[in-house]
């Protein structure tokens, strides 16, 4: 791909620019004199047509543009109207329909960034609108036509995690006709749902509804199940992922008929992890009765036969089908897939970190997961409610909610979503079988938000479950009887309580998997502050990862119940299915352009690329770019010290042209703001939508990511006499391009240092992290910068001009 763009593109024809200034009814015309702006635009170089109209986005407006492109032979179009985040696709389509390459179109945002935020200052707003149009014209002149490349997509999917979400996604995709590889690190699929007794709110038996699905997965011709396996390496990009999976040996072949004779003779006994240690298993075992695959396995950490020396052959002798093979070795399986679904699930919170609840110290304090195994007919007690200390049925039980959730001090800040309903379900289960049991539920808030949830809550209350608002501050044990005292404050009645129960159940929250970091690294994903994987858009792309071709299902993305996990799994399967059905994907033409003659093969761009899309070719002294893997942030272009890389559609020349255009007049009064498309530009749009007023001296230049902002753009602005510069991006950790904004931070810090060393007021360069929802944060920053700009003395401007003089040579 890189070869195509090696030479400097030639300007084939004289630019013929058409400018359309939109009134947007009174939305723009109310505070901007659109006629004047259009008149001004006609004076700009290469502008052959300039007009203002009421609604440019209407069919009429679009038809007008199409007609003009043909009649006036326009080869560049600028529309000055709303945010490109809103209507850029609309007008790009208009251009395409008229036979103009869609990359020859540019927008000037004179609504969200101008008329709406300067409602009461028509003069300044008009001046600003002129500047914005001028910047757009300067950029459009340099735009080049581009073709979007098409990448073929392998019609196979990898699903990581075989819980209910992974199972559902696998079945959906396999039924659609795609080949699916389901990788599960445990010996059996089923995940958390297989361990739960009943599901809320319908009180279905969990394993009874899951087991048929598990068995379907096991038998589906399109699903290859890889249990006891872990994903070790993922290379490639959307449509073409190369995956290495480590398949650990079971030491039992598929000939196993799951008769269980081997288990009876195995001399090794250990706690069964599936039952959270409440039941025992042998060295050769099956984790649970409904396990898929049903093949037994040997726990080599426990087995006596290490390193091929068969010390104990009891199981071998017991096995009639000769299915036990101690010589099995781990194997690496290579997979080629087009899409990946991450369904790695969640861990439960470990309450032993909370000393006041005495978990792991007092035998009768158990977690909700242990309780699920206790009340499960297939569990260690055969479904009889027993307490661990004396294996007797408890007469009174206390549930403690929010253990590890919603607390700054004890665990996690977020609500774990499922614990309230789980407790209500559990309390009803106890009441059904042992109606005389006294049940207390200590809660902060009961969150019964879903379909049928409130009914279940009311049923529990009618059944006599006592709900007490206020968590116990401490649990104490009666040493003789092992009964427990729960002490705390009932915040509804404003009185202290001290309640004696036979058993306490800690309703533990969910947290992100301890090994999520591994999956995060393998697939270059982002995680939020709680550790869960971050979706591409919280509302409109809730199952897509920021990495193209990767999707989320289940608790990996956030804590959720079974229904939501299944819903999300089907959604993820559908999203992956769309890609695979198309069989190809187009990549927006905002990938890097290389100039190999300037490249020194230093590898800086390779290091900063968040997508590993650049590889160093030392022999040819150049870099190779995998365009399909490129996210389009442009941080490589900003990093290159030799100008050997630039970003298509956001080239150095184009951005510098924008800077030059806006600093032509009154630069010493202006703020040059670089905003990233996803957060801060959207935040500035939000300020506009909310009509937050701020000073009109700011001019925004849009880049895809703040990581695109090369130090030379900032230097150029100062060299041209700008009063202040503002670099803005997504909050650290929320970057749309994984971590590209960390580069922004480094670069701005370097610039600050340079300014300080040269005796410049470093306040003139500001760095702001603002999300798409933080319009006010953006607006108040501009207000704050107004005071900085007002305080800048002419000699300081001159000094900065001198210091950054070199930046003018460029271009």
């Amino acid at each position: 791909m890189a070869e195509k763009k090696e030479s400097e593109p030639k300007q084939l024809e004289e630019p013929r620019i058409g400018v359309y200034v939109c009134h947007c009814g009174l939305n723009i015309a109310g505070s901007v004199n659109c006629e004047e702006v259009a008149k001004f635009a006609s004076t700009l170089p290469h502008v052959v047509l300039s007009q203002d109209n009421r609604y440019t986005c209407s069919d009429q407006g679009q038809e007008g543009i199409k007609k003009d492109i043909k009649e006036h032979k326009l080869n560049r179009v600028v529309v000055a109207s709303c945010s490109p985040r809103l209507h850029e696709p609309t007008f790009r389509k208009t251009c395409e329909d008229a036979g103009l390459n869609k990359y020859l179109f540019e927008m000037a945002n004179i609504r969200e960034h101008c008329s709406w935020v300067h409602l009461y200052d028509k003069e300044s707003a008009t001046e600003k609108a002129k500047d914005l149009v001028k910047m757009a014209v300067a950029k459009v002149e340099l735009l080049e036509p581009a073709e979007e490349i098409e990448v073929p997509i392998e019609r196979k999917a990898l699903i990581i995690g075989g819980g209910v979400a992974g199972i559902q996604a696998a079945l959906d995709l396999a039924d659609t006709g795609y080949k699916v590889f389901l990788v599960e690190k445990e010996p059996s699929i089923g995940g958390m749902m297989a361990r739960i007794d009943k599901t809320f709110p319908t009180m279905d038996c969990s394993i009874c509804i899951l087991a048929p699905k598990m068995s379907d997965v096991g038998h589906h011709p399109n699903i290859q199940l890889l249990t006891n396996s872990e994903v070790k390496e993922v290379k490639g990009y959307i449509g073409n992922f190369h995956v290495k999976v480590l398949k650990k040996p079971r030491y039992v072949t598929k000939d196993c008929s799951a008769c269980g004779e081997c288990t009876k003779v195995c001399p090794i006994v250990a706690p069964n992890e599936f039952d959270v240690g409440l039941a025992s298993r042998h060295g050769i075992y099956s984790p649970f009765a409904q396990a898929v695959p049903a093949t037994y396995l040997i726990d080599m950490n426990l087995c006596l036969n290490k390193e091929g020396v068969v010390v104990c052959d009891k199981c071998i002798k017991a096995c009639e089908r000769n299915a036990i093979v101690f010589e099995m070795k781990p194997e690496t399986v290579d997979l080629e897939v087009g899409t990946v679904i991450v369904a790695t699930g969640a861990d439960v919170f470990d309450p032993s970190t909370l000393p006041n609840y005495g978990y792991s110290k007092f035998p009768n304090v158990i977690t909700s997961l242990e309780f699920e195994r206790l009340i499960n007919a297939g569990g260690p007690s055969g479904g009889h409610l027993l307490r661990p200390s004396d294996i007797q049925t408890p007469k009174s039980v206390g549930f403690v909610q929010c253990v590890g959730s919603r607390s700054e001090r004890n665990g996690r800040l977020y609500c774990s979503n499922v614990c309230c309903m789980n407790t209500i379900k559990d309390s009803l289960l106890i009441k059904e079988h042992w109606p005389d049991t006294e049940i207390y539920v200590f809660y902060v808030d009961i969150r019964a938000y879903g379909k049928g949830f409130e009914d279940l809550y009311n049923r529990a209350r009618k059944a006599g479950v006592k709900f007490i608002r206020g968590l116990p501050s401490e649990i104490k044990e009666d040493r003789r009887t092992h009964n427990l005292w729960l002490m705390g404050e009932n915040t509804l009645q404003k009185e202290l309580y001290k309640i004696n129960v036979d058993m306490a159940i800690l309703s533990v929250g969910l947290e992100s998997r301890k090994d999520s970091e591994v999956v995060q690294r393998l697939l270059t994903l982002s995680r939020n502050q709680d550790g869960f994987f971050l979706e591409a858009h919280p509302k409109l792309r809730p199952v897509d990862a920021a990495t193209a071709g990767v999707f989320f299902a289940g608790c990996a993305e956030s804590p959720k119940d079974i229904k939501d996990s299944v819903t999300q799994a089907s959604a993820a399967a559908a999203r992956a299915g769309i890609l695979m059905a198309k069989g190809k994907v187009t990549v927006e033409a905002i990938t890097p352009i290389t100039f190999p003659e300037k490249c020194q093969a230093c590898g800086l761009c390779v290091k900063v690329c968040p997508y590993n899309a650049i590889s160093l070719n030392k022999e040819l002294k150049r870099v190779d770019i995998i365009e399909a893997a490129c996210g389009g942030c442009g941080t490589c272009a900003a990093e290159c010290p030799f100008g050997a890389l630039t970003q298509s559609h956001f080239t150095d020349k184009q951005i510098i042209a924008q800077v030059d255009a806006l600093t032509e007049h009154d630069a010493d009064k202006k703020i040059v703001a670089f905003c990233c498309n996803w957060c801060s530009y959207a935040g500035a749009d939000f300020a506009g939508v909310s009509r937050m007023q701020y000073p009109p001296n700011v001019r925004i230049i849009r880049t895809m990511c703040s990581g695109r902002v090369a130090p030379k753009f900032v230097e150029r602005a100062f060299a041209r006499g700008a009063a202040a510069v503002m670099v803005t991006g997504c909050h650290l950790g929320d970057c749309h391009y994984i971590n590209a904004n960390y580069q922004t931070q480094k670069r701005v810090e370097r610039l600050w240092k340079k300014m300080e060393q040269n005796g410049l007021n470093k306040e003139r360069l500001q760095l702001l992290w603002a999300s798409a929802a933080e319009g006010e944060r953006f607006a108040s920053k501009v207000r704050e910068m107004k005071t900085i700009v007002d305080a800048v003395k002419p000699e300081e401007i001159e000094k900065a001009k001198k210091i950054f003089e070199k930046a003018l040579e460029d271009n």
């Binding site: 706690p271 959270v276 290490k306 035998p363 242990e370």
Partner: protein, 94 residues
């Protein structure tokens, strides 16, 4: 399963651990040390005593650790070890 196990199995009291009685014919031992080396549960250790053949025979450190795999019997070149299983009623089964 990532959860840390905090409770003993409910059936831990009923679990039958095979009770072994290990018999050493000390004077038959030539002190090769195979039993000490190969016992997967490390039941044996070299003793200080000297037997009829003038070598140190093994001694039993902890009989309760034995899980009756009888590998010692298999590896002993001099047929100097055998293991019997103690039945709850006091009977012995070889």
């Amino acid at each position: 399963m990532p959860e840390r196990i905090k409770h003993a199995p409910l059936d831990s009291k009923d679990l039958k651990h095979p009770a072994a009685e290990i018999r050493l014919i000390k004077d038959q031992c030539k002190g090769c040390g195979y039993c000490i080396e190969f016992c997967p549960k490390k039941v044996f250790e070299e003793s200080d005593e000297i037997n009829a053949r003038g070598v140190h025979p093994p001694k039993i450190v902890d009989e309760s650790k034995c899980i009756l795999c009888r590998f010692c019997t298999a590896v002993c070149p001099d047929f100097a070890i055998y293991v019997v299983e103690k039945q709850p009623n006091g009977e012995r089964k070889t």
